[in-house]
Amino acid sequence: MPVETRRGFWGETLQLVRAVGRAMGVTFKNLLRRPITVRYPTVKRVFPDRFRGILALTYDPQTGEENCIGCRLCEYICPPQVIKVEMLKAEKRNWAKTFTLELYSCEFCELCVQVCPTDAIVMLRSFDLATADRRELLLDKDRLHALGLQFEPSWATGNRLRDMQAPPKPVKPATHSTPDRRAPEASEGAPTADPRSAAPSSANP
């Protein structure tokens, strides 16, 4: 700009020309690059292992029973308070009588997954949430179970996440408490045999 400064007219002009060259150089470099667009509906990106998507409830693959014991930990920890659970007391184990999740207010923080003692609530590798009716995102227990069968679940489950966070404290201080000495209990993949053995209190600070 021809405004009087210390640099003088020609200094300013030189600076301007350099700036123009730099700016146009950036756009020209971009022009030669390949577009990074992923044409979503036809091409899908690979989801990361711990993708935090739609929430769902799971069945035990061995017995075919529902995993949820209605302990309401997820309800307590949920920051936007979108989960409501009612417990059904029974002799052998407890069940969730109702389980509602208002997905339209969910903030996808994964805390419910982290606290779940029985790996019942998981997140799915899908974010196809778009709907024409808000009520379709008010999920009840059946809908949550159906979603769990529909999409692939993410790697993260409650037990895996807790294993990753901290190894159980040794009785005696070990010489080297390196992270590879993790407790082997709650082995990866296999659902917990007895839900009550995985104490919820250890996960919830």
């Binding site: 700009m1 021809p2 405004v3 123009v20 700016a23 146009m24 950036v26 756009t27 020209f28 971009n30 022009l31 690059r33 390949r34 577009p35 990074i36 667009t37 044409r39």
Partner: protein, 328 residues
Amino acid sequence: MPPLAYHALVGFIVLNVVIGMVTYVTLLERKFAARMQSRIGPYYVGPRGLLQPIADALKLMLKEDIVPARADRFIYNLAPIAFLLPCILIFATLPFAPGLGVADLNIGVLFFLAVSSLEIVGLFMGGWGSNNKYALLSAMRAVNQIISYDLPFVFAAFVPVLLAGSLQMSAIVEAQRGLWFVAYPVIGQLAFVLFLIATLAAENRVPFDILEAESELVAGFRVEYSGMKFALIQLGEYAHMIGTSFLGALLFLGGWLGPGADTPLVGALWFLLKAMLVFLVVTWVRWSFVRIRVDHILAVSWKLLLPATLVLLLLTGFLVAARGPHAG
């Protein structure tokens, strides 16, 4: 064929070609802009998005035509036509190839420059007739800016005219047979750059697009227009842009000259190619810079471009007086 019918026929063809070109230039710009931002641009409508402009036009035609209640109806409705007319008229004197043009006036460049600056009448009518303070402010800014930049624009365009020693467009092209004016030592490059800058301002393009500042003026003088009237205004803007690109290609890049240019169709193709090159440079500038402040825009025009083009014109005049017109 009587000459009148011939001219009417050629005019009809040129008009349709121009409108078709304008439609597709929007796609070109969108694709080009998308690539600069690492996107792919429109690709759903038709193969690779090739039918997108047609879809856009259809959509605009089907839109409801809303006239604001307190608008000056007559002026409001007339404005798009008054805006579009000069923008289309500028193609009248452009020779696309030897002997292929509506009218090769002996004052072709003058006609082009005079008519192209007439668009501000339609623009101001639109801003005034809308009875909208944003539209009015925007139209005032535009008039202010276009009048300021018309002088350097004309002076820069007159450098090749002086070099060629003629206002006739075909004669200017013929004068560049040996050496395109953009390659003319020092004067040619300077004039071309100044011409491009003045062009950006005259077309209200980035970085001189103060008349449609989304944050303060919404969509500028066309904020109240919808449907077909909006389409006409858009058409006019792009036609003006392409017309000026053609002028730049003709004045500096040798018009239809190029290998095999003696066949009219090849020549026209060369001309189109060069004009699109100028257009792409303009688009490139658009996606590289941010808007300049209003007072800076006027300062650039009156304190930098006007003296620079005047001096350049003077130098060219001395040169031509000393050596005679640059003959091809």
